[in-house]
């Protein structure tokens, strides 16, 4: 039961050493599909953060009441409830951004990362720790989406957050949908390279 990490460590863990997109390689669909701009990344990141935090807390509160044999359906229904909430809220408050993200907000329900965190963390740890863990995972997802979105928006349309930065469009290819695969692949390779380099220099 005991968790030896402080709340700060849990958040940092989600952003860096267990980053959902680059380290765990989960929930890749939105990272490829709609990461064309930074704004999309922020919006979907907020939605995932919301769902992750609230599902983690809910499961953590009721962890003693859930029978182990039906835990996966329980997780799925909990997630689906919170996804419905954020789906309706976004559709009402930010219709433009919601239209851009299309079906992906509803598909948060099938994100492997959220179920995985509930199974591995929230069903064992305290409510407080689950909250921080959920926050870290959500932020990690958001950071990943924003980094990919930043690269694609900068290289594809020469802009950041819609503001023209470069004044020209270096590689229009990156704004094309299929470039998402290349950007994610190259970035994973880059992080692998850093890791290898770090290990080698350590001896």
């Amino acid at each position: 039961m005991a968790n030896d990490k402080s709340s700060m460590q849990l958040v940092v863990n989600g952003i860096l050493s267990e980053n959902p997109i680059f380290r765990l390689a989960l929930s890749m669909c939105p990272a490829v599909g709609i990461s064309t701009t930074v704004m999309n990344g922020v919006m979907l990141g907020i939605a995932v953060l919301f769902v992750q935090v609230f599902s983690s807390v809910t499961i953590s509160i009721f962890k003693n009441l859930i029978h182990p044999r039906i835990r996966i359906p329980t997780y799925t229904l909990t997630i689906a409830t919170w996804v419905t909430v954020i789906d309706l809220v976004l559709a009402a408050l930010l219709p433009d951004a919601y239209a851009k993200m299309g079906i992906f907000v509803k598909l948060i329900v099938a994100f492997a990362i959220i179920t995985m965190r509930l199974e591995m963390f929230a069903c064992k740890e305290s409510v407080k720790d689950s909250f921080w863990d959920g926050l870290g995972m959500g932020l990690g997802f958001m950071v990943g989406m924003v980094v990919i979105g930043f690269v694609r928006e900068l290289l594809g349309s020469g802009a950041v957050l819609g503001y023209d930065v470069l004044g020209f469009k270096p590689l229009l290819f990156f704004i094309l949908p299929c470039a998402g695969f290349f950007v994610v692949g190259l970035m994973m390779a880059f992080f692998n390279w850093i890791e290898l380099y770090y290990k080698r220099s350590k001896g």
């Binding site: 390689a25 359906p73 799925t76 419905t84 329900v109 949908p177 299929c178 390279w193 290898l196």
Partner: protein
């Protein structure tokens, strides 16, 4: 002997039924009617028309079959140079799935002629299938189901197993979702429960297939059972019910969409696993080993699938 005659008779009737529209056409003054562009209907006649009457937009009334009260706004009617065909341009794009009813007044000989313009429904169903399979392939052009896609595309045998199990569950789950959507969610205004109901149905279907397969065919279960768990984690399986609810598909269209989605996933897995097996022999830089190179290969497939976007069959 009797049955033989019966079959002949049935074949003959079927032939007559197929030919009936063509025979009927021949007798008419109007020889052909078709959708041309997004907002255009072209009508051909057997004899040249008078330019003065044919180009008056007031002579035409056009509406969709289900709601005759909503007349579609006609922008212009242009007579072709030989006088034998008129192209009707509309202010707004037409919904080509629906049957349109066009009536023309002021034609020589008759006071008013009414006819239907529609696409072949079978062709439309087939186009849904092809679209989900190639043009809007769920993996390479919609970027869904990637976690499972990269996880199970290492070996051809795994890819085939996963693809087949996925297609079966997909068809069963989407037909059930369609039923629930049309007969429970829509009549009782429970649309906001979509996500909850669909994900529940999908989990139930997977559980049911698991139980049935375990009892009925243990051999098949041993080879395919492991993939069943992965099906739940696939976003395609929840995306298809959401798409069919959005587009208000009927049961045949649902069947075609789910078959196309499953088949498209199978196709993508098979293509990817063929490349993966070759890649094991290749000398890949250590930083690119594993997922990074798989992503780059998938990116190339996605570029290739962009080529299908111009495909239009019907």
């Amino acid at each position: 002997m009797m049955t033989f005659n019966k079959i002949h008779f049935l074949l003959f009737m079927a032939l007559i039924l197929c030919l009936a529209p063509i025979l009927a056409h021949g007798a008419d003054f109007i020889t052909d009617q078709n959708f041309a562009g997004d907002n255009e209907i072209v009508v051909s006649f057997s004899a040249p028309l008078d330019k003065a009457t044919a180009e008056v937009t007031g002579n035409y009334t056009v509406f969709e079959e289900p709601d005759p009260d909503i007349r579609l706004k006609l922008e212009s009617a242009t007579l072709a140079d030989d006088g034998k065909s008129v192209s009707l341009l509309f202010a707004e794009p037409l919904n080509m799935i629906r049957t349109h009813i066009v009536s023309i007044s002021g034609l020589p000989g008759q006071e008013k002629t009414t006819f239907k313009v529609s696409k072949s429904y079978l062709g439309y169903l087939f186009s849904i299938l092809i679209s989900a399979l190639l043009i809007n392939n769920f993996v390479f052009t919609k970027y869904l189901g990637l976690c499972v896609f990269f996880g199970t595309s290492k070996r051809k045998s795994t890819a085939k197993g996963m693809g087949v199990v996925f297609t079966l569950v997909m068809v069963a789950a989407s037909l059930m979702s369609w039923f629930f959507y049309q007969f429970i969610l829509v009549p009782y205004n429970l649309n906001f429960l979509q996500i909850l109901v669909f994900i529940g149905l999908v989990s139930l279907t997977v559980q049911a297939v698991d139980t049935v397969l375990r009892k009925v065919n243990p051999i098949l279960f041993n080879s395919f059972g492991v993939y069943l768990v992965l099906v739940i984690a696939n976003c395609v399986i929840i995306a298809v019910p959401l798409i069919l609810a959005n587009n208000n598909y009927n049961v045949f269209e649902t069947l075609m969409l789910s078959l196309g989605a499953g088949g498209g996933f199978l196709l993508a897995l098979y293509l990817m696993s063929s490349v993966s097996e070759r890649m094991e022999l290749a000398n890949i830089p250590p930083t690119f080993k594993g997922l990074p190179i798989a992503f780059i290969v998938a990116g190339q497939f996605a570029m290739a699938f962009l080529g299908f976007s111009g495909l239009q069959i019907f």
